[in-house]
Symmetry: C2
Subunit: 872 residues, 2 copies
């Protein structure tokens, strides 16, 4: 058997070996291979890391021999000798995993320095200050990272010596001061560890390798991996590389650069550099780096070489690169190249540009952009340059950003908005009563409720920024203020919300408007050409419908009729209906609603231009339409001409312990068929009128919350009779469908029975998730964050579809449904319809479409394309 290879000299590996060599190591090898100037070195594989972790910090046999051989090779290539006084080789020892974990693991520079090599190096460089500075940095880094001595110990010494010398900057330290620091550092090492600082380079190297492998399992790294879904068994590689120095004088320097602008995507070399400096100086921000263009003037040959290098790299990697370089005495070295992180804007532009440049295919371009990233393109965002005073953090329930004056009730929000004032609605939680206030507000902040609470769902539907479940805020509605710890925010104070992070910010912050560039449109067209899954929208108003079509919706998958009930002119009739003594009274009130509801549908149908529109019959429990506050009840009583007592009696009668599991959905239509009848009438009168005008419509009546077959058959019959009667009366031709929402576990179980009767299924995964988990989406804020922290749940199941549990029921529903009716049209209209991994699940489950809020349509379109392209 061939002996296993644990160490790869740069050039022996390549970029395809990331898993074994880590990202950094693989790219250093790759660059070496294609002739990019890289400081020589070698990589110890990630496999060694795993064996080391597994075998109680024992290394595999033969590793030492391999390392020695590679050190020899390194000495040979560089012409230097490790530990040699005359011409000492110094190395860096760095971690590098397959996945980038910036700053999470440890690095040691300048390894190999000791009193001997320091002397040798001084003679060689004639630069005692530089060598001593490197030495004190090495002791500090090694002491901290390898020996585990808190860096404060060293910082303190440094500060003291600086004070003694009355200087402020490290660069001002003179040779004497540096010598003293080295002495004091070593004394401190002895004091803390009870041992002398190791002077033998080989011992330093071995200790450093151990430290890097150990750092894979330090707390910071474990936490980072958990947070970013990185498996623990990836392991890190160790890169040992000869040092080059950007701080060897004015013909030296260092810099970082992107091959294109990572913020805009513009095709222009973009970066910064500092002369006579080390990499950390660029990052630290003590000296201001120069724009990369300036290098053209500072060192023309190096600049030209750098331009050649970046072009070569981009052509080779076929993606925008993020590089680090050092110039040592006029000589250019590349220290790193990797795929550059970029904004959504840049991602889209780079992908489309690279297709135009012939670098990548359209499929590549589509796959280059993460669907979730598009969110950035669709909402206002906080100016990244702004200084923020973050006072609390809640759930980032609906993306975007908003600035406004704080108000605590919906009516006030509405009134102030009418006066042209921008407001932020702050509530403990919102209810359908607050809809108008939410619509009037710039953004919504709630103290309770999760990612799919009422506030969150409605806000996302409106494309409006919302922070939900900000449990730290304590609202006092009487005094009109809220507290966060000691901070008191009064009504009319200005705050800013960042819906992308959940941050609540004091005062006004500059916002940046969304831009829909040409490249974005192009990319979406490419995505559409690949995807097979349809994308519809959840829209309840002509306005939303119009936006949806602009965003590319292929129909409405969920039109919630109840949202129409809350508008000021309608709610009165709705309440009249609820308060009616009998069916006669109810029908009278419903007759008032009919023309309003009908005109809504006319508007929506027109906006959808003949695309299918799935309309859900009334879903929420009736109590949601009655007021809760004493004053509102009083007002309503006056308005309705009834006693307050009567309204309170009705509220009591309608009260439910668990309204989510109560008298709603088709249960309402069964007990009050007259409501469903009015809605069906509105749908079909609207449809027929438009058809008469020559406008195409495609209505689909959706019966919600079906759990027993007969619920569906009774209501289907009701709807069909009414519809056919109206169509006949109008004397038009009109195709329509009657289907159901599958949102109750029992419906999945008897999906075959239901499919015999229903023409389409739409999975309501919000409710299905609630019932499958037994989680109330309004209340999960109380424990789900802790569940995610403890790893009980990977993700909030209301955001990301739970494939294992809820997904099993969905699959069961799809399979049973299609078994009974081969051409059953199946979609999803829960919040998951706009979440990329859930969209992929729907694609795999062979659904016909997903439906999501208007502002997530492009995300769903792109995710659907990804799902299809990834199949191959």
């Amino acid at each position: 058997m061939k002996k296993k290879k644990y160490v790869y000299f740069f050039g022996e590996g390549g970029k395809e070996m990331k898993a074994l060599l880590g990202g950094k190591g693989a790219n250093l090898s790759e660059m070496t291979k294609i002739g990019i100037p890289v400081p020589q070195g070698f990589t110890i594989t990630t496999e060694v890391c795993n064996l080391y972790s597994k075998n109680n910090k024992e290394y595999p046999e033969g590793l030492d021999v391999e390392i020695e051989a590679n050190m020899n090779k390194l000495e040979e290539k560089t012409g230097k000798k490790f530990g040699n006084k005359k011409n000492p080789l110094l190395v860096s020892v760095r971690s590098g995993a397959a996945v980038s974990m910036p700053g999470m693991m440890d690095t040691i520079l300048n390894l190999g320095l000791n009193p001997d090599t320091v002397q040798g190096l001084i003679e060689l460089t004639k630069n005692e200050r530089f060598v001593l500075d490197s030495y004190r940095r090495f002791i500090q880094m090694f002491g901290n990272v390898v020996l585990g001595i808190s860096s404060e110990n060293f910082e303190k010494i440094l500060e003291e010596v600086k004070e003694e010398n009355k200087i402020k900057l490290d660069t001002e330290l003179n040779i004497k001061a540096l010598q003293k620091i080295v002495e004091l550092y070593k004394a401190k090492v002895k004091e803390v560890t009870n041992e002398d600082f190791p002077e033998k380079p080989n011992i330093q190297l071995n200790m450093a390798i151990n430290a890097v492998f150990d750092s894979w399992n330090n707390e910071r790294a474990i936490a980072y991996r958990k947070l970013n879904d990185i498996p623990d068994n990836l392991g890190t590689a160790v890169n040992i590389q000869s040092m080059v120095f950007g701080n060897m004088g004015n013909d030296s320097g260092t810099g970082v650069a992107f091959t294109r602008n990572p913020s805009t995507g513009e095709k222009r070399f973009f970066g910064e550099y500092l002369m006579n400096a080390q990499g950390e100086d660029v990052v630290a921000g003590i000296r201001t780096p120069k724009e990369i263009e300036k290098l053209k003037k500072d060192m023309p040959p190096v600049y030209n070489q750098l331009v050649d290098v970046y072009k070569k790299l981009e052509l080779h990697y076929k993606d925008m690169q993020d590089i680090e370089f050092t110039i040592e005495k006029g000589k250019l070295f590349l220290l790193q190249t990797r795929t550059g992180k970029r904004t959504a804007h840049a991602a889209v532009k780079v992908a489309v540009d690279m297709v135009d440049e012939g670098l990548i295919t359209k499929q590549d371009a589509v796959l280059r952009v993460e669907p979730n990233q598009l969110d950035q393109l669709l909402h206002k965002t906080i100016d990244p340059k702004a200084k923020l005073e973050v006072i609390a953090k809640g759930l980032p329930a609906s993306p975007g950003a908003a600035v406004g004056s704080v108000v605590f009730d919906a009516k006030k929000a509405h009134d102030l908005n009418e006066e042209g004032k921008k407001v932020i609605l702050v509530r403990n939680e919102t209810s359908p009563e607050d809809i108008e206030g939410m619509a009037a507000a710039q953004g919504i902040l709630t103290a309770r409720g999760g990612m799919t609470s009422h506030a969150a769902v409605v806000a996302r539907g409106m494309g409006k920024c919302c922070i939900a479940g900000c449990e730290k805020i304590r609202i006092n509605e009487k005094t009109k203020e809220f507290k966060i710890g000691d901070v008191v925010i009064k009504e009319n104070d200005t705050i800013t919300l960042n819906g992308n992070t959940g941050e609540v910010i004091l005062g006004e912050v500059r916002l940046i408007d969304p831009e829909l560039k040409g490249e974005f449109k192009t990319l979406m067209q490419w995505a559409d050409s690949y995807r097979t899954l349809g994308v519809r929208t959840n829209a309840d108003t002509p306005h939303d419908a119009k936006i949806s079509v602009e965003f590319g919706a292929e129909g409405i998958g969920l039109c919630r009729t109840e949202h129409m009930f809350f508008q000021e002119d309608r709610i009165k009739a709705v309440r009249e209906m609820i308060l009616a003594e009998d069916i006669v009274g109810r029908k009278k009130a419903l007759d008032k609603l009919l023309p309003m509801q009908k005109s809504d549908f006319i508007g929506i149908f027109k906006a959808m231009k003949g695309l299918p529109v799935t309309i859900r019959l009334l879903d929420p429990p009736l109590h949601e339409f009655l007021p809760q506050a004493k004053d509102d009840i009083k007002y309503l009583a006056h308005e309705m001409g009834v006693t307050e007592e009567k309204i309170e009696e009705k509220i009591t009668a309608l009260h439910e312990m668990n309204p989510m599991l109560g008298h709603r959905g088709c249960r309402l239509a069964i007990t009050y068929p007259e409501i469903a009848e009015m809605q069906v009438k509105a749908i079909f009168e609207a449809s027929c009128e438009l058809v008469k005008q020559g406008i195409k419509v495609m209505p689909e009546v959706m019966i919600p919350l079906v759990g027993a077959l007969k619920e569906f058959t009774i209501l289907k019959k009701l709807a069909k009779n009414k519809a056919d009667e109206i169509i006949k009366d109008y004397g038009v031709e009109l195709d329509y469908k009657i289907g159901t929402m599958i949102e109750i576990p029992r419906a999945c179980i008897i999906a075959d029975q239901i499919a015999h009767e229903a023409e389409f299924f739409s999975f309501g995964t919000n409710d299905l998730t609630q019932m499958t988990f037994g989680f109330s989406r309004d209340d999960v804020g109380k424990f789900v964050p802790e569940y995610i922290e403890k790893g009980i749940l990977e993700k909030d199941p209301f955001q990301v579809l739970d494939k294992e549990g809820v997904g099993s029921l969905v699959k069961m529903g799809v399979e049973k449904g299609r078994k009974a009716r081969k051409d059953l049209k199946i979609g999803i209209c829960g919040e998951h319809g706009g979440e990329p991994s859930s969209v992929e699940f729907c694609h795999k489950a062979k659904m016909n479409y997903v439906s999501c809020s208007p502002y997530r349509i492009p995300i769903a379109r792109l995710a659907a394309a990804h799902a299809k392209l990834k199949e191959k």
Copy 2:
């Protein structure tokens, strides 16, 4: 092909042919066959009924020929001729389905009478009054049943003639009056139908047969079938039988009898008769019938013959018979025999007696008693002789009966009970806070909540009468009264509850105590010898545990620890824990609870004598432990030494929109592990102390509401560590199990994963039903009754396990669970564990046991035996 036979002459069929001949027809044939004197006749099959319904009221070919042939045979056997003036044959035409539907369908007597045959019969009987009375009855009955003339028309004529003649009773009508009535009746028929009353006997017969078949689909019959789960396609048979008359003079008579006492089961011929009367006279109650014993003196030979007959019948049918007989001029005829309905007492005694008599086997005896019937034996009942003023009807949520003074709050109930007063607790709905009041009350009446609402579940657990969801009552807690329409019941007024029917009765009614007779015990022992399914109980206190063992429980399947938290001495510590600022404060409060909880477990373990005890960790959301009423909050604030504001803040913080889907069950144990830890400590310290005393204990720790594997593994680890530590500290040997409740749909889906870790499953079918249907058991009263009425649901799924939906998930859970762990112990601890058809489901699903409230244990034991015996 042999021609299908549509008509059976009595004697041609037999008792096994009930489906075809109906119960009555089959038994008349059977009796004829075994030589019991029965008026001759024949039966048209139920098959004809179905064909008639299906084919638009067309009869199958050849039926007329068969009927004619059988009429000829009847004439031959009786020596009379249908329509003949000299010796006319009169017949009755009666319906008779396979299942008894008393009074639901129609009957015509004396068919064949017309002016000719009336004359002939008068000559033959020399009793003109009798013949004319029969004639007017026939016209009335035929007119009503066959011609559809409202009986008021005839009643009015009868009353008028009686008034003219100044008499009160029908029997006082003289010949002239009867003649006039006949004339007026016929005129009325002509007036209403525009046709003469049909005089031809054959036409009468055909019309009567049509009418009986039509009556199968009259509204009354359809409603009765729906109510009693009788399939519509059973059809009714038609029995045509020669008339015999008990009203032909003092040597004639009629009676009904049971072969044993149907109320007590005593082996004594039991019945009543009237001389010179028709069957309807016995039922009508105008004349008081005599006890059957008297017949011995009135007509010794007939009595002796009757005794022979009943003995023969009982020996033949091997069950208690309910018979009808007529004596015509000294000759005995049996008109009907059927299995006699009986009380639970009688059912048990008859079954056991018949085994002793060698009539039936023990298996037969066990199968003879319906499990649900036993409920009667286990609770107080309303004296059946009492006159009742029923003022409202709610759901019969917990059986039994109770008398007491009305109180509206738990504290008052408790206080009055202490004073020795019997009270009925009346609440809109109960909450765990009311527990002590419920325990103190004789019975509970709630305005809201279904069969498995808090009130219902707790009351059943306590074996206490409860009427829930009595939606008609309107409670006013301020004025301390409730209204039902105009009736006002004030505090301290006495009412009586009938938990078996749901009736609320004004005033005090006499109650009958439950009796557990020797035969009952015997029967239960036989049942135990057949069943393979275990029966455990749901018990939370030593007292309940003791009762359960007496009722035959083989362990505790569900011990709800939270019920222990509500007792006055504990609730304070519980509240202290909830109000604590941090874990230190919580632990301090928990330390106070520990000894109390431990002593509970000691009591329960002792009562269970080494039988397994499954203890569920804290399940309900914490807010249930805090008070709601302003006054109680004030009191608590004072008690705890905190501000009211603080308590209200906590209540607000704990508030949930849908507590059933909220922060409860294992979710509490995950976020507050210290609570679970205290409970585990209490369980194992109690166990170990008893083991040290030489007392056997078998604790099983049950983790509720698990939906994700890690919830279970985290808590299992916590419990196991704590348990093993305590066992080690005590230095004892103790076996225990750690398992989980399967009550969330997702748990059924991932049951295989869970079973790898859990040692037992207990299906919590209450919650599972809630989540599978999306029904809140507290709120279903709002629509489930209508669902059942409309046939959307067959039964309330909280009472009878929904085999199709919930059952599918249970089966999935059992199969997946056993796949992962072959010997996984599986039980059910929802309310369904005491419902016979659900018990049968559990048996078939191969569970190890069911667990039910103490007072349902015998029912579960018997149902389990039935399930096993029915397998064969």
